[in-house]
Point group: C2
Chain length 202, copies 2
DNA sequence: TCTCTAACTGATCAGTAGGTCAATTACGCT
DNA sequence: AGCGTAATTGACCTACTGATCAGTTAGAGA
């Protein structure tokens, strides 16, 4: 049984962080709908009511988790492409860092994949995340534009490349993210395909 | 107000089919959890109780929809690859037919994408669908094996190609499926990438 | 025509979800 | 020491979910 009232040796920040970590794990595995406040609270070691001391609603908690995760991801992505001055080099660097991050903490990639699904199903969530979506789009748009300027990508293929990147990254953060070996092979496949080395096409 | 009892001019098969169509549409857009029996019933024009005249449970309904959809998809896929005797030809044929089917009825591709997510989140559903998953895997495995025999795919790349196909198709049936233009470009990108024509790699 | 059954409604149930809130306890500040 | 506030519980509310079922009506077959 838990004692009533404020527990000893608790700082607000610590508990908040624990909630965010646990929530990301559970949201990423089971999704927004299936994960209940009670599930998260129990896993953290508190009661559902306490959640509302930190976050105004379940949705607010979800958005907080997303903010954390997204900024973490794109910080790493940005770091990864520094030092590569070709489009294909940058793209492969992004693939590699995505794999590494997934090895370290699978919940990150899993959550990003889950968000795409959940926000598609929850209209108000999609609206709240539109800013983040634009941030993501811009990241790759810049990468591609530089590739066009360098002459690595034909001007008329700009949108095609963008659509391809999107598709491939979506596929990667999908069910694949559970199986490290499969993901490794998928990344290898993406690299080889882009170099035309995957299948004979003559 | 609806009249009580059996309505005139109703054959069981008709209503059942309407339920399946409506359910696929709603499941594909909102997912398994968010879509309620009441939502489906209302859209069909019946009451939730009547659903249980045709399907034993919500899960059973979902599985029925999936059975329908999956067999429809792989019938088309199988037809599409007939007449192509190269791996890349078959692969591109699959991409093309996937696009065409999505144009005709977007709910099909959308549902396939949704199933992947929902079954990942609903353990009992995943178990019930394992047979279908194997069927899907086998389809592509055969395609790849033939490609290896013809010498189009290096033996050691078999698993890599398989992982790549999976990733790309997952990406395609994802959020992309809502935007036809985007999907068109993505498919073009996939084709060009596989031929090494998407970006300069020298 | 009479019956049996298929097709449905409407009321209803138990379970559970997100969310609220008064009460309780610990901590930081003066 | 004492007061205000931060952190948390536990009881509770309303809404809604999947599911059940007795009762009602239309049609098919003898």
């Amino acid at each position: 049984m838990k004692r009533l009232g404020r527990p000893p040796d608790t700082s607000s920040v610590q508990t908040r962080d624990r909630i965010l970590v646990v929530a990301r794990e559970m949201f990423s595995v089971h999704g927004y709908e299936i994960t209940t406040n009670r599930d998260i609270a129990t896993a953290v070691g508190i009661t559902p009511g306490a959640l509302y001391h930190y976050f105004g609603s379940k949705l607010a908690l979800y958005l907080a988790v997303h903010g954390d995760t997204q900024s973490q991801v794109y910080e790493q992505f940005t770091k990864a492409i520094i030092g590569h001055d070709t489009f294909i080099g940058q793209f492969e660097a992004v693939l590699d860092i995505a794999y590494e991050m997934n090895m370290e903490d699978a919940s990150v990639a899993r959550f990003i994949g889950a968000v795409r699904v959940d926000s598609g199903r929850h209209p108000d969530m999609a609206a709240a995340l539109s800013t983040h979506v634009r941030q993501r789009e811009r990241f790759f748009a810049v990468m591609i534009d530089l590739g066009v300027k360098r002459g690595e990508i034909a001007k008329e293929n700009r949108l095609v490349v963008q659509a391809y990147l999107l598709t491939v990254l979506m596929g990667l953060t999908d069910a694949v993210s559970g199986d490290h070996e499969l993901q490794k092979r998928a990344i290898q496949g993406i690299k080889m395909a882009m170099r035309g080395q995957l299948v004979k096409t003559s």
